[in-house]
């Protein structure tokens, strides 16, 4: 459980990709409306850094994105989710998923 997007750091986002996510959507409160003052602003910067990291390796930057909305905007949430889902569907499975499907993992277990 994360009480706030401000708790999300870069490693958590990268871990999601390691765990097989094809895309990661970060949904935070509206900017200027954070219960913890600036948690969502920090999250935005971290998402941006992960975006840049993914751009430097074969995963590609578009697989991570941050959205902001309020808790009362259910319809908007659904629309954002659909939009992001469509985007990831277009991109297809992440190179990690593809690599894992094509051959068994080689990493020795320590």
């Amino acid at each position: 459980m994360l009480p706030c997007t401000g708790r999300i750091d870069e490693s958590l986002l990268l871990k999601s990709f390691e765990n097989g996510a094809d895309g990661v959507m970060v949904v935070g409160c509206l900017e200027g409306d954070c219960h913890y003052v600036n948690g969502n602003i920090r999250a935005r910067a971290r998402v941006q850094r992960v975006y840049e990291i993914l751009g430097q390796i074969a995963i590609g930057p578009e697989r991570v994105r941050m959205y902001n909305l309020s808790a009362g905007e259910g319809a908007k949430f659904a629309a954002f989710t659909t939009e992001f889902y469509q985007k990831i569907k277009e991109l297809g499975p992440s190179p990690i998923t593809i690599a894992r499907q094509s051959k068994p993992r080689e990493v020795p277990v320590s």
Partner: protein, 221 residues
């Protein structure tokens, strides 16, 4: 603190090209404070390397560690039992830490994950600036607490040179003229007498020019 910047991922990937089982080692000292080599950066770098390698079909196993300090022997020792189970260590400590680890573990290649920068300060979040070159012969008491060796692009002892315009160094508009700062500060301290004196040639032998330096303090042994 000692500052640094991350090496480009491609460079680190090419360093670990030959290995499939490595350690990524951080340090809780200076590099944690300047956000380039602490445990968070260990996690991020490790994930990044794993993702890149797995996407390329050549997964790499990474042990993530962060030592209290890589520049003190007692914190390196705990690695001894397992270090030889790994083919290499990517260290994101400063150059001193990386070398010290290399020295302690003769059979393990040490790979630098950061470029070590300078002795500096955090001017503001995300901005670090050089303040000291460790020249071994401090003159800050004569120069209003501002170092001519570090803050002047030419390290001159009787500045400012002709390249100082409006308090800015000719080398870069982002660099303040060290000597303008010295003069402003001497004036505010009412110590301008210090300016008018000829200073002896600097003994650079106390600096790195004298060869690798060593401090021996019998009282501390």
């Amino acid at each position: 603190m000692i500052t640094g910047t991350p090496k480009p991922i491609d460079e680190v990937l090419s360093m670990i090209e030959a290995y499939n089982k490595i350690i990524v080692a951080g340090c809780y000292g200076c590099v944690t404070v300047c956000r380039v080599g602490g445990d968070k950066e260990v996690q991020v770098l490790s994930s990044t390397l794993r993702l890149a390698r797995e996407a390329a079909g050549r997964p790499v196993e990474i042990k993530e560690v962060c030592l209290e300090r890589q520049c003190d022997p007692e914190y390196l020792e705990p690695m001894r039992p397992y270090i030889e189970d790994y083919q290499a260590v990517v260290s994101i400590a400063c150059g001193a830490g990386i070398q010290f680890m290399a020295e302690k573990f003769a059979k393990t290649p040490l790979l630098p994950g950061i470029n070590t920068g300078f002795l500096g300060v955090t001017e503001r979040q995300g901005e670090w600036a050089e303040r000291c070159q460790g020249c071994g012969d401090c003159v800050l008491h004569l120069t209003g607490g501002i170092c001519p060796v570090t803050r002047c692009a030419k390290s001159i002892f009787h500045g400012p040179c002709g390249g100082s315009v409006g308090g800015i160094c000719e080398v870069d508009k982002e660099i303040k003229c060290g000597w303008q700062m010295i003069i402003d500060r001497l004036k505010s301290l009412d110590q301008m007498d210090n300016y008018g004196k000829l200073k002896p040639y600097k003994g650079w032998d106390a600096s790195r020019d004298g060869g690798p330096r060593r401090i021996i303090r019998e009282d501390m042994k």
